[in-house]
């Protein structure tokens, strides 16, 4: 569940279903626009929100993420075509992460597919894919509907997320399965999710009842609301790249050198070419060696900025794409887009505004990185990949 890059240059953002609640809680009054929706960057303090997420549980408005329902006899075939998620193997209630690739194997998005019933799936994307959905549906018996903005999406994230949800009347009976439930007469679907390394529960329910559940949650256990900035630190620590910020999605990437394949983003485990057919799989099968490596690094500094140059010895090997100060590590954590084969040792980052000073940096082990390493080990591809094994 990853937010895409902000679209602050776009039109006036619209209020999400939970806007009234988030606006009243956002004392910092710091907002941004994501997919055309208003999203709070900070409610009160980034450090406090981050800390609450890591130690207890926080509540987040996920209304800016794009949702599609896919219904029909061939809904699974449709999703198996559009995404790399192992949709055919999902039982009702199960979810799986995956990627959307174009025919050349370049990543268009990071997605999550959940099977709600036998012939109904929920697809969560970071961005809209109307054209892709329309093209992919030709010749396949599946009805795709964009329900973004017609539902409220409330996420509870943190080690105590399940308890907090249960206190509000949403009892996720299973750690792995989604449930359909009623909370004070409100139909809701609750399912387990992850944000970065943290577990969570996402509740999706009707737009008109948005405030009912939020209020019940606030009264039952009062989880701290969390804004985009704190979520961003958790995301980088988790090792999941952000479309539009850490890489250009396939539709927007200009030129082959700006397109990124799953292994270049550190996500080979989300597009296993040996498992089943999906869009772009043949290109991955026949693909060239990785040219880039999207590394997660920790920088010995208090601040950094996207665009900062990354050096290996004397050579400039790439740039920072996203970064944030990690209260836990007391250092900046960042994604760095560097040349494949860059040595893990001797990395430095040129800091802006500090007289051209360079700060030492080192690759950071992340949960996503561990998954990728395990996958590469089983695929026997560790030595072939441009990214060094973690």
């Amino acid at each position: 569940m990853i937010f895409p890059a902000d679209d602050i240059g776009g039109e006036e953002p619209k209020p999400t279903a939970l806007f009234a609640a988030t606006a009243s809680a956002a004392s910092a009054n710091s907002w941004t626009s994501v997919n055309g929706w208003s999203v709070p960057r900070v409610y009160s303090s980034v450090a406090e929100e981050y800390d609450a997420a890591r130690t207890r549980a926080v509540a987040a408005d996920f209304g800016a993420l794009v949702r599609y329902t896919v219904r029909g006899e061939e809904a699974a075939a449709f999703l198996a075509r559009v995404t790399t998620a192992p949709v055919a193997n999902l039982e009702p209630g199960e979810s799986a992460r995956g990627l959307m690739l174009d025919a050349s194997g370049a990543v268009a998005d990071i997605i999550e597919a959940a099977r709600l019933t036998n012939e109904l799936y929920l697809l969560t994307c970071s961005r809209r894919h109307a054209r892709r959905m329309q093209l992919a549906g030709r010749g396949i018996e599946a009805a795709v509907e964009d329900i973004t903005g017609r539902v409220a999406a409330l996420a509870i994230i943190g080690p105590e997320a399940r308890e907090v949800a249960a206190a509000a009347g949403v009892d996720p009976t299973s750690e792995t399965l989604a449930i359909q439930t009623r909370v004070r007469g409100v139909e809701a679907s609750a399912r387990p999710i992850h944000h970065g390394a943290l577990p969570g529960v996402e509740i999706i329910y009707p737009y008109d009842e948005a405030l009912t559940l939020w209020e019940r949650l606030r009264r039952a256990s009062a989880p701290k609301p969390v804004g985009l900035d704190a979520l961003e630190i958790l995301r980088i620590e988790g090792g999941t790249p952000r479309p539009g910020a850490d890489f250009a999605p396939a539709e927007e990437a200009r030129g082959e050198k700006n397109r990124r394949r799953p292994s270049e983003l550190g996500l080979p485990h989300l597009a296993p070419v040996g498992r089943a057919w999906f869009n772009g799989r043949r290109a991955l099968r026949d693909g060239l060696a990785d040219q880039r490596w999207l590394a997660v690094i920790a920088i010995d500094a208090d601040a950094c900025a996207p665009g900062a140059a990354v050096f290996s010895g004397k050579n400039s090997v790439g740039r920072i794409t996203t970064c944030a100060f990690s209260p836990r590590l007391k250092r900046v954590v960042a994604f760095a887009d560097v040349a494949a084969g860059t040595s893990r040792k001797g990395l430095e980052v040129a800091l802006f505004g500090e007289g051209g000073q360079r700060a030492a940096a080192e690759p950071l082990e992340t949960p996503e990185g561990r998954l990728a390493a395990a996958f590469r080990a089983t695929e026997g591809a560790a030595t072939e990949s441009g990214a060094p094994a973690v």
């Binding site: 061939e74 174009d102 892709r132 093209l135 030709r138 010749g139 396949i140 057919w277």
Partner: protein, 516 residues
């Protein structure tokens, strides 16, 4: 869903093995591909009829009057295919190996141009003396560019072109017809002649970028060994197809015209054979498909096994223009001396630029208004048995007409009227001798062949067609699957290069499989 991997055949069907290659569709491309595969030593089965009957070269459209369906002239027969399957040895014959062209203009004048384009300078010098020097320079550059770009017109990668020619070749490929001819010439008749040749049978209009490339393609073609020439094959297109069929038979290809294909079997990104209409399976590591792209990929493989972008490329927008074949039965020969002298030549009506603009505007509205660009021949002048004694048959291609996947009598009558009006510009007074008119449009060709009507629409511009052909040649990344349907061809006319290229790729693939 057309394809379930590894599904067993229907009950009663049998599984046939020991086959090296299956070719689907007996079009000229399919026949050529099958012949090459068989000649390379692969045990090959050709499935499906894939076109009008190979046995009926002629069709009686009026009692005593016969026409030859299909392409009326050969202008682009792939020399490599001719050589590879020895088409001449298998009966390819030309009734006329080099037809001169006679261009008729809106002002009533005409110009006789030699069938060898290189010799056309003399005719141009005669009727457009002010442009003669410029035409000579233009012709040399055009012919050289055409020669250099020949691989591109057969679907290969764009060849590198040496420096002195590179600029001209690039301009000819990218410019519009208007840009090239208006900048080069002043004589309106010469401009009309080149414009008619460039726009004939293609979808682009004179002002569209890349539209001039089809003229260069026309010059790159080869007929009976001569670049840029037009030839009349004995028995027309049927004669050429029959030679290809004999070549395939000689190569021990197993013909099964009554057996259709319901699925192409794909197992883990690799073709595994086909499922046939009788419920059986033929297992083969190589399948060459000569059907149209929609059937070859979406229907027979299934969208769920195709990349989304690949499928989107197949399902292109509805075509705008088509062409019509019109056959006139004339109860006597033309009375005017000029037409009588030109009955064994290729007769082209080259409309004035305002007439062309008018015809294209009408076609965009869905109507047909003459005069149109017309290429007419008298097949009965080459084969007197096509018409009763002292009578004759005229076969003409007219362009542009709106594309329709179905047609009513009123539409056919519009085409017939426009064709008669245009033919009057070629042979004044001949209309009085026309006793029957046969109009054949895309839906008729579709009914005869079983292919969709859009396969017979005017093809897109050369560069667009080349890009599409290159994309489809990859066959969606399915190993062992090779495509040579209509969308693999670049431009109109009997060609064979797509079939030849598909067969060559299939043979390379099969040998790699055998030899690791």
């Amino acid at each position: 869903m057309a394809n379930d991997e590894g599904q067993a055949p229907k009950s009663g069907g049998r599984i046939e093995g020991g086959v090296d290659a299956v070719v689907v569709g007996a079009s000229f491309e399919g026949l050529g591909a099958a012949a090459m595969l068989g000649k390379a030593g692969l045990k090959t089965i050709l499935l499906g009829a894939g076109g009008a009957s190979l046995d009926d070269a002629r069709r009686e459209f009026e009692p005593g009057y016969f026409c030859l369906d299909g392409e009326q002239l050969v202008t682009h027969l792939d020399p490599e295919l001719i050589s590879a399957i020895e088409l001449y040895r298998h009966g390819l014959e030309f009734a006329n190996r080099r037809l001169d062209s006679v261009y008729y203009f809106a002002d009533g004048s005409a110009a006789h141009v030699d069938g060898d384009p290189y010799n056309s300078r003399e005719a141009i010098a005669e009727f457009a003396p002010g442009d003669a020097a410029r035409y000579t320079e233009f012709l040399e550059l055009s012919l050289e560019s055409a020669r250099a770009l020949r691989p591109l017109f057969s679907g290969a990668a764009a060849p590198p072109i040496a420096a002195p020619l590179a600029g001209a070749a690039e301009r000819y490929l990218t410019a519009s017809v208007e840009d090239v001819v208006d900048a080069a010439f002043e004589d309106e008749r010469l401009i009309s002649m080149l414009t008619a040749e460039a726009l004939f049978r293609g979808a682009p209009r004179a002002g569209e970028a890349f539209s001039f490339a089809s003229y260069i393609r026309r010059l790159a073609g080869e007929a009976a060994g001569l670049q840029g020439a037009a030839a009349f094959a004995k028995d027309g297109a049927h004669g050429v197809r029959a030679a290809a069929r004999r070549a395939a038979q000689a190569a021990r290809v197993d013909f099964r015209p009554a057996t259709g294909v319901t699925r192409v079997l794909v197992e883990w990104d690799r073709v595994a054979g086909v499922e046939t209409s009788d419920g059986g399976q033929i297992r083969a590591p190589v399948v060459v498909n000569a059907l149209d792209a929609r059937r070859a990929f979406v229907d027979l493989i299934g969208p769920e096994l195709l990349d989304i972008e690949f499928q989107a490329g197949i399902e292109s927008p509805a075509p705008r223009f088509g062409e019509a074949r019109v056959h006139f039965a004339m109860n006597g020969e033309p009375r005017d001396e000029r037409t009588l002298a030109n009955m064994t030549r290729r007769l082209v009506y080259a409309p004035a630029r305002e007439e062309i603009a008018h015809a294209f505007a009408a076609a965009r509205r869905g109507e047909v208004e003459g005069p149109l660009i017309m290429e007419a021949i008298f097949p009965s002048a080459f084969d007197p048995t096509l018409a009763p004694e002292k009578a004759c048959v005229v076969s003409a291609l007219v362009h542009p007409v709106p594309f329709r996947s179905a047609a009513d009598d009123a539409f056919r009558e519009q085409i017939a009227a426009a064709a008669r009006l245009t033919f009057e510009r070629i042979a004044p007074g001949a209309g009085a001798r026309i006793i029957a008119t046969d109009v054949r449009i895309a839906c008729d060709e579709a009914n005869a062949s079983g292919a969709p009507a859009r396969a017979f629409a005017s093809p897109p511009g050369v560069i667009a067609a080349w890009a599409r052909s290159r994309k489809l040649a990859g066959a969606a990344g399915i190993e062992g699957y090779f495509f040579c349907g209509p969308e693999a061809r670049i431009g109109p006319g009997l060609n064979g290069a797509a079939g030849r290229r598909a067969a060559q790729a299939a043979i390379r693939y099969a040998r790699q499989k055998v030899h690791g």
